[in-house]
């Protein structure tokens, strides 16, 4: 909120404090100063009011004039060369004479301009530092006396601090509030406006029940206290200069004396007020009630508003006239013809006002304060202040009856504070006298000061405007604020050991990313929120819907991501479009998937390996293929303790929007706690995105709760020292048979035949062959088998016997052929 320095000066003496000192004080009191602006005119010496006597074309310049200007008896008539065009002979204007220094350190002296002598300069508003108007001279329409120093004519200079008030301090949404804080900071007295005595209602005859006959509050919950006073015979007109100046300084446009007083008191006390034209109140009645559903009102901003039974309104006998605490209606406002006023000062509950502003999307200076909470105890005082100012600026007289509906909102609060507690929480000593002074400077008075065995105990009385202070810890903050947070002593960091491990999820992410970076991947960071279109590439349409936010901000960030690959592909596309050589990208982050109708948040590691279309190299390396990404997926899964090899299957049809059928695989299932996919990304989809070249990728997703800390240390297993026996076996199988299935069948047969006689150390495929010697529709898978016994060198005979037997057993079980 905007706070004027001149205005503050009415309550707290800041003379001698620089603007910086005040900013600093506000900052360390706990409010952010967003800007400091100078308004009004700066101090200007040797600038006076003058009148243009003659104006003649400059002999040597078409655009210039040579004028004679009367600058009053003290300075006489001067000759001035001027370039402006907006003035006439007889106009009064500011004249800067030799010796004047204008803003921007522009020194005025007598000089020759194109050969003509000029004694000074006639000035525009901008040249005087009072606004941006540079279109011509500042014409002084009020025709002030000649020779008057210009500062006596121009609005005085002011400094306006734009201060952000934290939500816990609604008491500071006004000049008195900030003045109170500054008075405490600088330890100087705070001077309240003198409005303790309410102007008297002259006599019983002046009861004007015809203007307001009654006030009824139906919605007592929303409006615990309502005051209404009548002022009769006012004359609406412009406010006096001092009042206009206050409002203008803080950015408010003066409207008329009554409205301006309302705004002034709001900015002074923080208490919103409202004035009605009494004659516009049907039935001379005020009813504070909830609106009826469908009732409507046109607010002062000219917009029709439809109300609901949740909206608190001020109504007359027939219709709502104000949305309570938010904005008045055009049907009851004060205008030039108003002669009789009803002034409202009310306490509305913040929840009610907040609900209304939220529903209507309408807020005002008034609602802003009510939403944060006003002090109901300042209400009578603010009303008195407003009445006396209206009488002073608009005339009229206070008449009866006066209305007060509702009771005092009870207030009594004391906090028992042990100064020792303050020291314990702060970790350093502040002298007792300083603590006391800090509290008292904020009008937190010590109702009792007891001395117990354990030390002093203070009973601190909390004023009604400090609803935020409730507990001893709140007073610790007040004491520290006033002591100065810059004075917290320096100390070494204390670190008593707490031997905890990092979360296993964090460890996993760290190791997975280290793996990828170790394999030359660049780690990327993409947004979690993606478009529905991207989500539809990864998951079924029913799931896409579930991933949608209820209130997305922009259309292309409407859904939770189901995969990291969308973001990585986008990063790939961006780099390709910028002509950069790009291939290996990786990311770790959260993704969201559906399983059995419920969404799951998963930890994910994703990577892509793209054909680098921009690459120019003197030596080309082996290309990436399916098995490159399989290897990485397998290694990453292993970091989470997952062996995905045995569960790898071709991608299903549903996965083929993201993956290329026949060239990609998936493994696992989230019902087991993890899932992985890898292979060639759908080629048509990549083309559609404008990506050139093939893109391989992989992603491993794990439920965070399934990632556990490293277990106990592994146990060493001794390995055989005797030589291995090697045999090769080529199987002829159906083209479609997965090699893993053949390998498992072979392993099973070998185990069955050999039993515990010796070990089958390894069975691995080393050749896949189609063509001559292998029938159509079949392929040959050649396996290498390694046998070893722990206690002896295997003999050829026993190995051959076993090898023969396992072949027979395998053929019997599977019908595979053996290729000799």
């Amino acid at each position: 909120m905007k706070i004027s320095r001149n205005w503050l000066q009415s309550y707290v003496n800041l003379a001698g404090k620089t603007d910086d000192e005040i900013s600093r004080a506000v900052t360390f009191l706990g409010f952010e100063v967003e800007s400091v602006q100078l308004t009004g005119a700066p101090k200007l010496d040797s600038v006076f009011v003058g009148e243009v006597l003659t104006r003649n074309r400059h002999p040597n310049a078409d655009k210039l004039s040579v004028c004679t200007v009367d600058v009053g008896p003290a300075h006489g008539v001067k000759t001035i060369v001027c370039g402006a065009q907006n003035y006439r002979v007889g106009d009064r204007v500011p004249v800067a004479l030799a010796g004047a220094v204008l803003p921007g350190n522009f020194v005025i002296k007598q000089s020759k301009i194109r050969g003509e002598l000029s004694d000074g300069m006639m000035c525009s508003g901008k040249e005087l530092g009072i606004g941006e108007d540079h279109s011509g001279l500042l014409i002084l329409e009020q025709r002030p006396a000649l020779g008057l120093p210009i500062n006596e004519v121009l609005p005085p200079g002011d400094v306006v601090f734009d201060i952000e008030i934290t939500p816990n301090r609604p008491d500071c949404l006004c000049h008195l509030g900030i003045a109170r804080e500054l008075a405490a900071w600088f330890r100087v007295p705070l001077n309240y406006p003198d409005v303790m005595v309410e102007p008297a209602v002259p006599s019983k005859d002046s009861v004007r029940s015809d203007l307001l006959g009654g006030v009824r509050v139906d919605a007592v919950e929303d409006c615990p206290l309502y005051l209404a006073r009548i002022i009769s015979g006012v004359k609406i007109g412009p406010s006096p200069a001092w009042l206009q100046e206050r409002l203008t300084a803080v950015g408010l446009r003066p409207i008329n004396n009554v409205v301006d007083v309302g705004n002034f008191v709001m900015l002074e006390y923080g208490q919103p007020l409202h004035a009605f034209d009494a004659r516009k109140l049907a039935g001379s009645a005020i009813v504070v009630r909830r609106a009826v559903d469908g009732e409507s009102i046109v607010t002062l901003d000219g917009k029709p508003r439809t109300l609901t039974s949740q909206t608190l309104v001020i109504a007359d006998a027939t219709k709502p006239v104000v949305i309570a605490g938010v904005m008045g209606g055009v049907n009851s406002g004060v205008d030039e013809s108003t002669t009789d006023l009803v002034l409202e000062a009310a306490y509305f509950k913040r929840q009610s006002i907040r609900a209304t502003t939220k529903r209507l999307g309408l807020s005002s200076d008034s609602s802003y304060r009510y939403e944060r909470g006003v002090d109901p105890h300042a209400l009578p005082e603010a009303a008195r202040r407003a009445i006396s100012l209206i009488l002073q600026t608009a005339g009229g007289q206070l008449v009866g009856p006066s209305f007060r509906v509702g009771g005092d909102v009870p207030w009594q609060r004391e906090i028992v504070l042990h100064p020792r507690f303050v020291t314990e929480r702060l970790g350093f000593e502040i002298p007792l006298t300083d603590m006391k002074a800090a509290l008292e400077s904020l009008e937190l008075t010590l109702a009792r000061d007891d001395e117990l065995d354990t030390g002093p105990v203070w009973t601190v009385e909390i004023p009604s405007w400090r609803d935020d202070l409730d507990r001893p810890i709140d007073l610790v903050e007040e004491i520290l604020r006033l002591h100065g947070t810059e004075r917290i002593p320096v100390a070494p960091v204390s670190s008593p050991g707490l031997p905890e491990n990092d979360d296993p999820v964090v460890e996993f992410n760290r190791r997975a990313m280290a793996y990828l970076v170790g394999h030359d991947f660049h780690e990327c960071v993409n947004y979690t929120l993606r478009s529905a279109r991207e989500a539809a590439v990864t998951v079924e349409s029913a799931t896409v819907e579930k991933l949608g936010l209820s209130n997305p901000f922009v259309e292309d960030q409407s859904h939770l991501r189901a995969s990291l690959l969308g973001g990585l592909v986008e990063s790939l596309r961006l780099n390709q479009s910028r002509g950069l050589s790009v291939s290996l990208l990786g990311e770790s982050g959260r993704v969201f998937h559906e399983r059995d109708g419920r969404l799951l948040e998963c930890v994910a590691i994703g990577f892509i390996m793209a054909e680098d279309v921009a690459e120019r190299t003197w030596l080309r390396r082996t290309e990436t293929d399916f098995f490159s990404v399989k290897h990485h997926a397998q290694s990453l899964a292993a970091l989470a303790g997952i062996d995905l090899v045995r569960l790898t299957r071709p991608v299903s049809e549903g996965e083929c929007r993201q993956w290329q059928a026949g060239h990609a695989a998936s493994a696992g299932d989230l019902s087991q706690g993890w899932r992985a996919s890898f292979g060639l990304l759908n080629v048509a989809a990549m083309k559609a995105l404008g990506i050139s070249g093939r893109v391989y990728g992989g992603e491993v997703m794990v439920l965070p709760e399934k990632i556990s800390a490293e277990g106990s240390h592994r146990r060493y297993k001794p390995f055989g020292q005797f030589p291995a026996a090697l045999r090769d076996l080529a199987l002829v199988v159906d083209e479609a048979l997965p090699s893993e299935e053949a390998r498992r069948a072979l392993a099973k047969a070998a185990r069955a035949v050999i039993g515990t006689a010796f070990a089958v150390e390894r069975i691995s495929v080393f050749d896949v062959y189609r063509g001559e010697g292998v029938p159509d529709g079949k392929k040959s898978l050649a396996f290498s088998l390694v046998f070893r016994a722990e206690d002896r060198t295997l003999t050829d005979e026993e190995v051959n016997r076993a090898f023969q037997a396992l072949q027979e057993s395998l053929i019997a079980a599977t019908g595979y052929g053996i290729r000799k």
Partner: protein, 347 residues
């Protein structure tokens, strides 16, 4: 015979000198010194040599043999060398660049996060983690944020539809909504509920605000928060931690200061400014870097800790903001574009 030897000798010398391959060498070896070799044949004729000439002849034959064997050895060395030369190929222009990609790079946000975690690890903070989708309880209620607080508006916070159902996030109570966490403070609540004091954690993570994306705002960004709960934790300890963090990160000329502020979950609360002369974006100015305070007793009461016994502090900051200061980056969107010219600068 002497003449035969001389002829043989000359022939061998010529032939062996021309040997280039291993088969040639093996053949030559057999031809001269093998069991059926020419020199062997000559030696076999020794029987026919008169007895008195035998020693001299024997000596001559031996000398020939030594010479031929030496020639064979030479040839072997040549052949072996040629074989290696063939194996290794021509010599290489070592100034040619490696065509291999790399090195890989960690994203600067990760680097900053890890550096902060390392600094905090040294003084006993363990890294904690929690879900990005949260219930209102963990994100707001438990942190003393009242139901009508503006931060909870659909204006500022992303919510999931009322029908949303998560299998591995805490169950919501009737009427409670799932949302995208607006701060990592929810991890503090989860950690306190799961464990018991003393607690000392740092929780880095992704958070979400419903904000227009521009040079300094982003729909998601990253935070890092510290929480310490123990007996007798003081404001002075909190200030000491902040001084430690930022002098560790930015050097000894770094200073921090507290400005009183307001947060619902700490009391007293502060905003933290830092100044570090060598940072181009900081200069002599104070730059706001985060918020902190002493854990509000209400928060302790909410997680069942006795606020008369337990005290604590919390500190939080934005990682993007820190990275921007640290590296002199002026647009937050740069982090999310992943332009390789950006990423490679942080190798």
């Amino acid at each position: 015979m002497e003449q035969q030897l001389t002829v043989l000798q000359q022939k061998a010398q010529a032939e062996l000198g021309a040997i280039r391959t291993r088969p040639e060498l093996e053949a030559a070896k057999a031809r001269y010194v093998g069991p059926n070799g020419e020199l062997t044949a000559l030696m076999k004729q020794m029987g026919a040599v008169p007895k008195e000439q035998r020693p001299a002849m024997g000596k001559l034959i031996n000398e020939s043999k030594v010479r031929i064997v030496a020639e064979l050895d030479l040839a072997l060395a040549r052949v072996a060398e040629a074989e290696i030369a063939a194996q290794v190929g021509p010599s290489i222009d070592v100034t040619l660049p490696s065509p291999d990609r790399g090195p890989g790079t960690l994203h600067p946000l990760t680097q900053v996060r890890e550096e902060m975690c390392r600094i905090l690890r040294k003084v006993g903070f363990a890294v904690a983690d929690g879900p990005e989708v949260e219930t209102e309880y963990y994100c707001f209620d438990a942190l003393n944020t009242p139901a009508d607080h503006p931060a909870r508006d659909a204006q500022d916070t992303f919510y999931l539809p009322a029908t949303a159902d998560f299998g591995n996030i805490s169950k919501r109570t009737p009427g409670e909504r799932y949302l995208l966490r607006t701060h990592t403070s929810s991890v503090q609540i989860r950690t306190m509920l799961k464990g018991s004091p003393p607690i000392r954690i740092v929780s880095p993570g992704r958070v979400y605000r419903r904000d227009t994306t521009d040079a300094t705002h982003s729909a998601n960004f990253h935070q890092l928060e510290c929480l310490y709960v123990d007996r007798n934790v003081t404001v002075r300890d909190l200030k000491a931690l902040l001084d430690y963090i930022f002098t560790s990160l930015l050097g000894k000329d770094t200073k921090t200061r507290f400005r009183p502020h307001y947060f619902g979950y700490t009391e007293p609360s502060f905003e933290v400014d830092l100044s570090a002369r060598h940072l181009p974006k900081v200069n002599k100015e104070w730059i706001e870097i985060g918020g902190c305070g002493m854990v509000d007793p209400v928060v302790f009461d909410g997680v069942g800790y006795d606020s008369k016994v337990w005290t604590g502090y919390a500190f939080g900051m934005g990682l993007e903001r820190l990275a921007m200061l640290l590296y002199g980056i002026d647009d937050i969107r740069t982090f999310y574009q992943n332009d390789l010219r950006f990423l490679k600068q942080f190798a």
